[in-house]
Amino acid sequence: MGREVWITGYGLLSPLGDNPAAWWDALAAPSLWRSKVDAETYAPFPIHPIRDYRLEQQVPKHGDQRAMGPLMQYGAYAAGLALDMAGIKGNQELLQQTHLVAASPGGERDWDLDRQILAKLDQVDDRGAFLNQQLSDGLRPTLFLAQLPNLFAGNISIIHGVAGSSRTFMGEEAAGVDAVRVALRRCAAGQGDIFLVGAAYSAMRPDLHQQYHAGGIMLTGQWQPLWHRPEAGLILGSSGAFVVIEARERAERRGAKPRARLVAIESERCARAPGAAAKVAEGELARLMPQIKAGALAVLSGASGRGSITAEEREFLAGVAGDTGLPVRGTAAALGHAMESAFLQNLVLAVAALERGRLFPPLDPAEPLEAEYTGKLGQVLVTSWGHLKGEGMGLVEAIDG
C-alpha cells in the first residue's frame, strides 16, 4: 500500500464551466447542460464544446497563448486551476519538486491547409511534388509545437514552472487512467511527493471525427440519452482536467488542505470479446472491495456511449447495484466523451462531490441505474470503460469519511 495519498488541488475546464458552483448548477438543470450541445458546427456530428473561458486568467502571456491550440490551452488552464487550489502556483521551491504526468492526444492540425490540399490533390499530375510544395509553403513552423503531445506537458512546465519530472502518456481512455495510476504508485512508494496529473481533449477535431466515423462509432444527428445509444454512440466533449496528488505527510508539512483521499487506481486490458470487459471490471472491483465502505458510495461512470460496451457496463453496474440502489452517473451525457480526459474529469467531479458531501441529480432519470441519492457522500468509484480498450477503476473518499 505505501503512503497515504491526498488530492490537494483540482481543476476542470469543461463545457459546463470552470468551477464547482457552475458544474453543480448545470448538472442539476438538464435544460442547461443540454443547451451546451452543439449539433451544428461539426454536423453531422454533435459535440460538447468549451466556450467562454478567459485563457489569460491562467495563461497571461500572449506568446504562450499563441503557442497552443485549444487542446493545450484547456490543459494549461486546468493545470493552473489545480496548482492554484493546491497553493503551489508560483512557489518555485514546490514547483521544482512537482512531477507532471499528463495524458494527451496529438494537437490540432491546420484545417484550412488540409482542406486546400485535399481539394486539389486529385487534380494535379505529380502528387508528391505538389504535396511537398504545399506543405513547405503552407505549414507554420510553430504549428508542429502545438501538435506534439509531449508539448502538452512541455507547455504546462513552461507556463506554470512545473520543473520536476515530466511524462506524457498517449492512448485514449487508458492513458488517463494510467497517468493517475502511475502517479499514485510513485507517490505511495516515495518516488516523489507531489504530482500534477491531468489530461485534456478537444472535441473540435474534424480529423478525429472522420477517423472515429470510419470505425462506425460516431453518433450523427441529435443528442441521445447515454445509456441506450446505438453502436455509433460517441458524442465527443472538450475537457481539461487536472489534480494535484500529494503524500499526506508532505501536504501536512506544508499545511495544504486535503480535498479527498486517493485510495486506489486499477487498470487492466483484455481482448474485448463480449463479456470480457465486465470480467476485468469484476476483478478490479474485487481488489477494491476491501476498501469500499458500505453505504455513502456513488459511481461516476466513464461510459463512452458506444452502444455495445456501454450496454455491457450498464449491465455490470446494475448487477453491482442490485437492490442497494447504488447511484450511478454517466457523466458523458452532460459533458460528452472526453477520451484521454474522461477519467480525470470524473475524478475531479468526484472530489468536488465529496467536498460538498452530495451527489448531483440523475442525468438520465429514465435509467434505473441513475438512482436519486440525497444522502451524505463518503466515497466515489470512478470507472473507465474505454470505447475500444482499457478498463480502469479508481476509488476516492472524503477525508472525514
Binding site: E40, A43, R109, W111, R115, L118, A119, L121, D122, D126, G128, A129, L131, N132, Q133, L135, S136, L139, R140, P141, L143, F144, L145, L148, P149, N150, L151, A153, G154, S157, I158, V162, A163, G164, S166, R167, T168, F169, M170, G171, E172, A174, A175, V177, D178, V182, R185, A189, Q191, P206, Q211, H213, A214, G215, S267, E268, R269, G386, L388, G392
Partner: protein, 421 residues
C-alpha cells in the same frame, strides 16, 4: 553510497532495429565499425525539399508504410529479439510494457483515401455541415490502426505482458523515459520485470518538412553519410531516422533465480523538466545539469566514477553546445576532458522517440564489450566543445559506469547511469 541511491535493475534482454540493420549483432558490428545508416530518401518524392536524406528503415518488407504500421513492425522485431535473449519468449511475461511511440495521425495517403470515401457531395473534406457517407467495414483499419493506444495494445497481447500497457512520449527523451518507468515499477516491487521499448517509424513528407521548418535538420545532402556531425564545428542539424530498441528489465534477484544472463544494470535515473522554451534549453543549463546529476546521485556515484557518456549529441548547434555546458558543470572542467563522450547519432541519425532506448541498449553493449562506439564525421573540431568524442574510430576501453543522455523538445530531459554486468 549516497543515501538516496536506488536499487540497480538488471538488463537481461536487448533487441534492436536501426538504419544500420536488424538485430543486435548486426547493429553492434556496424556501429563499432563506424558505418553510417544515412541515405537518400526513396520512400516519397523529394522534389523541392530542403533536406533529402534520412536514416529511414527501408528493409522491413512492409508496405504501404504508415507511422503506426512501420513503428509496429520494428517494435515487434525488437521485442521478440529482447525476449528471446532473456529466455522469456512464448510465455506469460511477469511485468508491464512501457512503449514509446510517435504520435499517430493519418498520413496523406490515408487522409486522402478516407476523405474521398467518407465525404460526399460538393463540399470539401473537413467542412462543417458536409454530408458524410456511412462507415464501411473495410474502413475500420483507418480508425483502429490510427489510435494512439493500438500499437502497445497489440504488442501487449502478442507478448502476454501484465496489466494495462503504457504508451508514452517525452519527445526525444521518450525511449529513456520507458526505461525509467520500468526501473521505477521494479524498484517499488510492482512486478519483477518490465519491457521498455522505444519505436519510431515516422518519416514521411510531412514530418520531415515540419522538422525542417523548425530549422532542426541538416541540409548537407550531397554525401548523406557525412551529414550527421555531432560536436563538429560545421554541424548544421540532426538527421531524422527510424528504429526501435527493446530492453528487458528485471529485478536482479529474479534474474539470478531463473539463471538469466545479466547484460548490464540500469543503476541510476535522473530527470528534469526545463521551463524555459519550447525548443531551446534554458541558457543556464539547469535542467540538463539536474538530469545528469540526478542520475549519478541515484546510482550512489560521483561524477568521477563515470567513464563514458553516450551523448544525446544530435548535431544541432544548440544541443551539442548545451550538452557540453552541462557536462562541464557536472564533471568540472578537468573531469569533462577525461570522460569519453560519443554520439551514436553520427551513424544512425536521430531516431526521435526510439533514440533513448536505442542508445541505452548501445551503452549496455559498450560496457559489456569494453568497446566505445565512435563519433564519426568528426573532421573539424569545435574549439568551444573540447571533449574527447572518440573521434571516427571505436576505442577499446573498459568502463564500469556510463551515462546515457536524452534531451527532448519541450524540455524533457532524462539521464540514465548504466553499469557493466
Amino acid at each position: 553510497m549516497a543515501k538516496s541511491a536506488g536499487k540497480p535493475v538488471a538488463v537481461t534482454g536487448l533487441g534492436m532495429v536501426t538504419s544500420l540493420g536488424i538485430g543486435i549483432a548486426e547493429n553492434w558490428r556496424r556501429l563499432t565499425a563506424g558505418h553510417s545508416g544515412i541515405h537518400r530518401i526513396t520512400r516519397f518524392p523529394i522534389d523541392g525539399l530542403r533536406t533529402t536524406i534520412a536514416g529511414s528503415v527501408d528493409f522491413m518488407d512492409d508496405a504501404p508504410i504508415t507511422i503506426p504500421s512501420h513503428s509496429l513492425v520494428m517494435a515487434d522485431r525488437a521485442i521478440a529479439e529482447a525476449l528471446g535473449q532473456a529466455g522469456m519468449l512464448g510465455e506469460d511475461f511477469p511485468g508491464e510494457l512501457f512503449l514509446a511511440a510517435p504520435p499517430v495521425e493519418h498520413d496523406w495517403g490515408s487522409r486522402h483515401y478516407l476523405s474521398a470515401r467518407l465525404d460526399c457531395g460538393e463540399k470539401s473534406p473537413y467542412s462543417p455541415g458536409r454530408p458524410v457517407a456511412p462507415p464501411a467495414p473495410e474502413l475500420e483499419p483507418y480508425y483502429e490502426d490510427f489510435l494512439n493506444g493500438t500499437l502497445a495494445e497489440r504488442m501487449a497481447e502478442k507478448y502476454r505482458v501484465r496489466g494495462s500497457p503504457i504508451t508514452l512520449t517525452t519527445a526525444c527523451a521518450s525511449g529513456a523515459t520507458t526505461i525509467q518507468l520500468g526501473v521505477e515499477a521494479i524498484r517499488r516491487g510492482d512486478s519483477p520485470a518490465a519491457i521498455a521499448i522505444g519505436t519510431d517509424g515516422s518519416i514521411n513528407e510531412e514530418t520531415l518538412i515540419r522538422f525542417s521548418l523548425l530549422s532542426a535538420l541538416s541540409s548537407k545532402n550531397e554525401d548523406p553519410t557525412k551529414a550527421s556531425r555531432p560536436f563538429s564545428k560545421n554541424r548544421d542539424g540532426f538527421v531524422m531516422a527510424e528504429g526501435a530498441a527493446a530492453l528487458v528489465l528485471e529485478d536482479p534477484e529474479h534474474a539470478k533465480a531463473r539463471g538469466a544472463v545479466i547484460l548490464g544494470y540500469v543503476c541510476g535515473i535522473g530527470e528534469a523538466a526545463d521551463t524555459f522554451h519550447r525548443t531551446r534549453s534554458h541558457p543556464n543549463g539547469q535542467a540538463i545539469i539536474r538530469s545528469m546529476q540526478g542520475a549519478i546521485d541515484d546510482a550512489g556515484l560521483q561524477p568521477g566514477d563515470v567513464g563514458y557518456i553516450n551523448a544525446h549529441g544530435t548535431g544541432t548547434p544548440e544541443n551539442d553546445k548545451m550538452e557540453y555546458f552541462g557536462i562541464v558543470n557536472v564533471f568540472g572542467a578537468e573531469g569533462a576532458k577525461k570522460v569519453a563522450v560519443s554520439s551514436n547519432k553520427s551513424m544512425i541519425g536521430h531516431s526521435l522517440t526510439a533514440a533513448g532506448a536505442v542508445e541505452a541498449a548501445f551503452t549496455v553493449l559498450s560496457l559489456k564489450h569494453g568497446l566505445l562506439p565512435p563519433t564519426i564525421n568528426y573532421e573539424m573540431a569545435d574549439p568551444a566543445i573540447p571533449l574527447d568524442v572518440v573521434p571516427n574510430t571505436a576505442r577499446k576501453q573498459q568502463v564500469k559506469y556510463a551515462l546515457s543522455n536524452s534531451f527532448g523538445f519541450g524540455g524533457q530531459n532524462v539521464s540514465l547511469v548504466i553499469s557493466a554486468p
